[in-house]
Symmetry: C2
Subunit: 328 residues, 2 copies
């Protein structure tokens, strides 16, 4: 079998997850990991794959079918994403929702300049949750969609706490409010405020001699991040933080309730994820969309795409005939 040759750009949590996901797909083979660090300092787990510097990507133009971009959305992807999209098919998990239209337009231009396919904003949100919002609202046109996240670590909120004076380390969990989820599931279509939907649980390591009351106040009143939520702050030691809060679970729910017919029959559609490892799951979604990018590119397509543009059958190792007989 001819394998899909994968490159990874950026070897953090997601990059390592993509390496594992490629190994779990028989039709894939990891060829190279590209890093900003000195390549000899980066140890990967895949025999036969090489580690190279970002600047050496072009040298592997003919040896990689799809590059999976594992950089951050704030500064990495808007620069590196565009550069790589001009030379390779790419997949990324760009997740700055407000900037998606602009990013899409720029990637589209870059991808078309080189005749490649780039699928942006792949993962679970944006990604699988987006797909489920779309499917559910297309079916139940009159209704309400709710997205709940968690219980899981929010990197952005954890970072915001770490920037507070006197804080040594911190982890923040976003937690869906069970009562709100139950009301939504009942199909009653409730109006819910930000505070109604999620709690924020913070585990904080204070520096020696720091004013804990001041830290707690600074967290709970922080605009945008915490002030609109019910927030709990628990001080822990560095050891407790490592032992109890170093995993990266996440998950959540997309629920739509709506009405059909002339008698107002009600329906509830729910999609939920319960993930032991947020980055590994995201990586697994990225890698199956890499298969779709490869196939679209082979078929002569090019330009930027999102998950909304990808026919589901392109994601599977199975043929169209196998899918119809086994899964339809």
């Amino acid at each position: 079998m001819e394998k899909i040759r994968i490159g990874i750009v950026g070897y953090g949590n997601i990059g390592r997850g993509v390496e594992q996901a490629a190994a779990r797909n028989e039709d894939m083979e990891l060829r190279a990991v590209f890093t900003r660090r000195a390549p000899e300092t980066v140890a990967i787990k895949t025999d036969g794959a090489v580690v190279k510097h970002f600047d050496d990507m072009a040298s592997m133009k003919d040896e990689i079918d799809v590059m999976v971009l594992c950089g951050g959305s704030a500064t990495d992807l808007p620069v590196i994403g565009l550069k790589v999209a001009a030379d390779f098919n790419t997949i990324d998990s760009f997740d700055t929702h407000a900037k998606i239209p602009e990013y899409f337009a720029n990637v589209d231009k870059a991808a078309k300049s080189g005749g490649h396919v780039s699928i942006i904003s792949v993962g679970w949100d944006p990604g699988m949750f987006s797909l489920n919002r779309l499917y559910a609202e297309s079916i139940l046109v009159q209704g309400s969609t709710y997205t709940f996240w968690g219980k899981g670590v929010s990197q952005g909120h954890s970072d915001a706490i770490r920037r507070i004076d006197g804080v040594k380390n911190a982890i923040q969990y976003t937690v869906p409010v069970e009562e709100a989820v139950s009301r939504v599931r009942s199909g009653s279509g409730p109006e819910l405020t930000t505070r109604d939907k999620h709690l924020r649980e913070c585990y904080v390591v204070a520096k020696e001699g720091a004013d804990r009351a001041a830290i707690e106040r600074a967290i709970k009143t922080m605009p945008n991040y915490f002030d609109e939520y019910n927030t709990t702050v628990t001080f822990v030691t560095e050891e407790e933080l490592k032992e109890n809060h170093s995993k990266m679970p996440h998950g959540g729910f997309v629920i739509r309730s709506g009405e059909t017919g002339c008698e107002g029959n009600k329906h509830v559609i729910e999609y939920s994820l319960k993930l032991d490892s947020n980055p590994e799951f995201t990586a697994s979604v990225l890698i199956c969309y890499a298969r779709a990018a490869y196939r679209l590119s082979k078929a002569g397509d090019c330009g930027a795409k999102s998950v909304f543009d990808i026919a589901p059958g392109l994601l599977s190792q199975k043929t169209a005939g196998e899918l119809r007989s086994q899964l339809l």
Copy 2:
């Protein structure tokens, strides 16, 4: 706005649901209902739409963009489906799983002969459940998928009871076993027998003087339908059956659990439906796939498709740009 002109073939529960669903989509307009009965005996609810006989379809070739086929899979679709597919874009909910490959091939030939698009096996199972099996197994390659149905009425099983000597009327509910659903949700990947997964609840109206014990025995031992399940039989009056068991709720769950990474991190993906009206929900799925068929046909595509072949964005009234900025 130019509207998508819909035709309905067959005016039973699903056909009536499609009429309502079309009315709930601003970009759609019902033009005609085709029936095997005398058209003047069929009263529809849509002003401006006409009722015509099956034999008069060809006369409306230029006035209908998509025909939604609402006949049964056993005898209607294999005959009428092919005939209509040669002259119109079509959507159907063909659900005889074992015969899907053969039906797909025949519809493909018919649709291509006329240059039309036919999307087969649309609804929730086959349909949305199939899609979720596909997405979940493409992401979590190593894992197990479970489908549970219910609580809901199985028409096939209700019919089977009605054929028993001494039975006047009957309704059968398929009920998922809660303990089995919980075990699957835990991510433990249990092995489950047919009996472990579903119960069958039967509500039976006996004819006067009928041997109830014999009826109960006949049901519980019926091969394929009941013998592999735990089955309860409750005798009720015709009035009780009408009052308590004339609605058509349904639903179910598709759950996949699987592993990623090298430490065996576990993940659970769940899709669930809770439906007040099985036919109205099915109809709502059919009508959004009619939009996709219309768009694909306009773009010059033709032949048979399944939900696996349809890019999700084609289902929505929103433009690709609106979808990216609002739902991604």
